[in-house]
Symmetry: C2
Subunit: 202 residues, 2 copies
Amino acid sequence: MRIITISREFASGGRELGKRLADALGFKYYDSEIINEIVRHTDFDAGFIDKVSDGEVSFNFHFGRSFGFSVNQPAIDVLAAQHKVISELADKKDCVIVGRMSDIILDKKLPLKIFVYSDRDHKIARCRERGELHPEASDRQIIRKCRQIDSFRRRTHDTFAPYRWGDRRGYNLCVNTAGVDIKKLIPGLKEYALAFFDSQKQ
Amino acid sequence: MRIITISREFASGGRELGKRLADALGFKYYDSEIINEIVRHTDFDAGFIDKVSDGEVSFNFHFGRSFGFSVNQPAIDVLAAQHKVISELADKKDCVIVGRMSDIILDKKLPLKIFVYSDRDHKIARCRERGELHPEASDRQIIRKCRQIDSFRRRTHDTFAPYRWGDRRGYNLCVNTAGVDIKKLIPGLKEYALAFFDSQKQ
């Protein structure tokens, strides 16, 4: 199977890039399907699963000033189910998977690992365009939100991966979407992906 | 003018990628021409210029245990000439320039800035293939040499650039050549570059 994993900074357009690339290649695009599958495998609700899956939930609790900590078992259970679901989906069809630690989970299957990022101004513009945050939020508030979500992703990633989140060495290609039209980049990325998989065969 | 700058880790294949990409796009490829032009603008010989240009020469001398230092004026002169030569060449024709701080020098002209990198094993293989180092050099010796050259490049770069050498945020695209056939990546990169320049126009 040919697998593309997309890791991304919040508001960099990684999801749009992943979806468009999957469409161009005729690959399956997995996103909410993963959450739905985890719901089927566990007793947790989709909201909790989504939070764990995106790194918003920590995997251990520290006790006050002591050095002891206890593991967050429900979060670990969700991660285990996510591992299973993603591994199984990736064995079925050529696919693009955005986030959800797919780069780590599928590393052994030699996916094309893409990291998508952008700069401050373009992230703010993208957030305003999508209208996800409060329309009266200041630039500073928007960028603080972006950083917070990235820090969740980084924490979860770095807990499990042998390389740091966003460090080029962990990826095959890092794409800066600042100031470019993502739609236009797709034909080149499609060619690139096909050449990558072609190289791997040898 | 459309400009592509290639920054690269030693033995990552950045030069090959740059040359092939220039050929595919029909862009000029500047490499030794730059040294020759600097020779024409200064009184230094090509060997010294090449060393400064590639970061092997430091720009200041520290005096023993004191905190004083003095500037290495010949190296600064070479850099100034390099700045002039690269700026002028980039104004003449669409081009690809590998290294020589072209990403910093041409930043205001909005080039497509590519960083090319690879992993340990593929760098060693590339060094052996090219036969540049002693044929009996051990893997450790080869990789130590690669790191040393990269550290020169990093030092020169970080002295003058607002971003760290190899940090994805300073580049538009970071390409990992480990395990892929550079020749095959070119059509995709060519498409990508054309889409990038097309986006910039708007």
